[in-house]
Amino acid sequence: MSRFELSSVEVDIARQRDQLRHPQSGGYCAFEGWVRNSNEGKEVDGLSYEAYADLAVAEGERIVAEAMARYGVSDARCVHRTGDLKIGDMAVWVGASAPHRDEAFRACRYIIDEIKHRLPIWKKEHYVTGESDWVACTHVYREHEHEGHDHHHHDHAAPFVPDYSRQIRLREVGEAGQAKLAASRVLVIGAGGLGCPVISYLAGAGIGTLGIVDGDRLDASNLHRQVMYDARDIGEYKAELAARRVAALNPAVNVQVWKQPLTARDAVDVFRQFDLVVECTDDMRSRYLSSDASVLSSTPLILASIYQYEGQMQFVAARPGTPCLRCLWPQEPSPESVGSCALSGVLGPVPGVLGAMQATEALKYLLGLPQPRAGALSLVNLIDLSVQHLAIDATQGCEVHGGCVEVARRALDRLSGEDDIDLVFDRLDDAVVAGFQLIDIREAEELACDPLPLAGAMHVPSAQVVQRADELQEGRWLLVCASGRRSGHAARLLRDEGVPQVYSLAGGLNALRVAG
């Protein structure tokens, strides 16, 4: 049954609404778009819509289907008008019914937003002066109908011009500094607690190109510290949400988005496209990968990480004779030893402070300002409000193992050889059918409050699994933990112990939950 229609006559709302009635639906939500009497300061007395009908209907159907799948609504429909319309006429109608109201509202919103962006429909406005003009619908979405109920927006139709006067006023910035920022390309890896302030301040400062890497979707437990996002964003990809936030904050910034973490195979090439990288993940492996890619691509890197009420920051200049992450921590620590926001807890503003410090370092670097603490590990303690800087001696780091470049190259080669370890499954049953035996490596208390959704898995806590390497020589093993980090680390250790067929569930049980 067709759920999207183009109509040259008035929309029959009652008929559309009746088609959305289902016994399981507890509510219905509709949106109507109307023709308004002005656009971009010109008085309008009517308009005409022309559609590329075949394409518009196919795309419209696709959008409605996406909304139904995405929000799990019982039903949804949309009608878009074509032909001549007068002030007050309905141009587009969207309706959704669902067991609960939230999904219906969100599905409605999704459909109208996507329709405005993607449908090949053109609008000719007829002005009171007798003139007329074709208007791009994506533009109309932003400035006109989308905010049509809010009278304050009527005069805001002129294109936005960023105002950097408050930072240009700084003697060290000036017009020349602003031009440097506009020409800069910065990659931000991780759009969470650290990434939110980094992305916001760099976008506000007018960085030319911002790359954003994050494979995670927003969770309710993120909101106390990840201040770019709203409760209604839960379940969406953070990279996409962050890109939308940047577009809203400063449309002058060009944004590139990666919805998958970088890998040993692509990180160096991606880093080469940027002048500076800011590492904001909560993942040690990502930090080491970033350090290696920074050294190999000669792209400076600003690292930070946090624990409860504290943080650490390090600037990697990626020049010979300057220290990298491996100079400081030659042995990659196990995921169990470094803690996480989920297991150890964190006060919301702590990543905010460290992220703001990273953003400040980034701007200082791009503007060519002095960075007297570059090359030190900065320890920030927000309990006693102390900051301590410890100079890292590069001659005692990778230098004794062949230098940062050599050490980084060996590490990336090793990682590339192990990139088959992380396997994606939508359901654990699929892994069993594919011949894997499951080992749950979580702690006993985690199992107790969140048991595996199937029986028959072995349980060996992550700290002990490597000692069982001998038992795992035969068979294909899939290690499982909450996030995929401990299982990935343990699988790599077991491979090093000679276990041939050991793998890790990518994204862990959290990823199953999102997919399911």
């Binding site: 969470g192 909560d282 624990y307 409860q308 995921p335 803690g339 410890l390």
Partner: protein
């Protein structure tokens, strides 16, 4: 016996329950001191998983202790 001032960061601060303390020890090296503290404070991390700094400079674990040293133990952290 040597009197030294200790500062704990992150997991160590959490496990010790204090930001720092002054201790009197008969250990002669940093490693000996940390092993002593592991027993007394119940630290889960081994010395080689940490960095140690003395008087605001990173140090090796075999450095001898001197009266009045300020010693900072720093674990790696991963939160973001």
């Amino acid at each position: 016996m040597t009197v030294v001032n200790l500062q704990y960061y992150a997991q160590l601060r959490e496990q010790a329950g204090v930001n720092g303390e002054q201790v009197t020890t008969d250990a002669t090296s940093l490693r000996g001191l940390y092993d002593e503290l592991r027993v007394r404070r119940g630290f889960s991390l081994v010395a080689d998983a940490l960095k140690v700094a003395v008087n605001a400079e990173f140090s090796s674990w075999d450095r001898p202790l001197r009266e009045g040293d300020t010693i900072v133990f720093i674990p790696p952290v991963a939160g973001g």
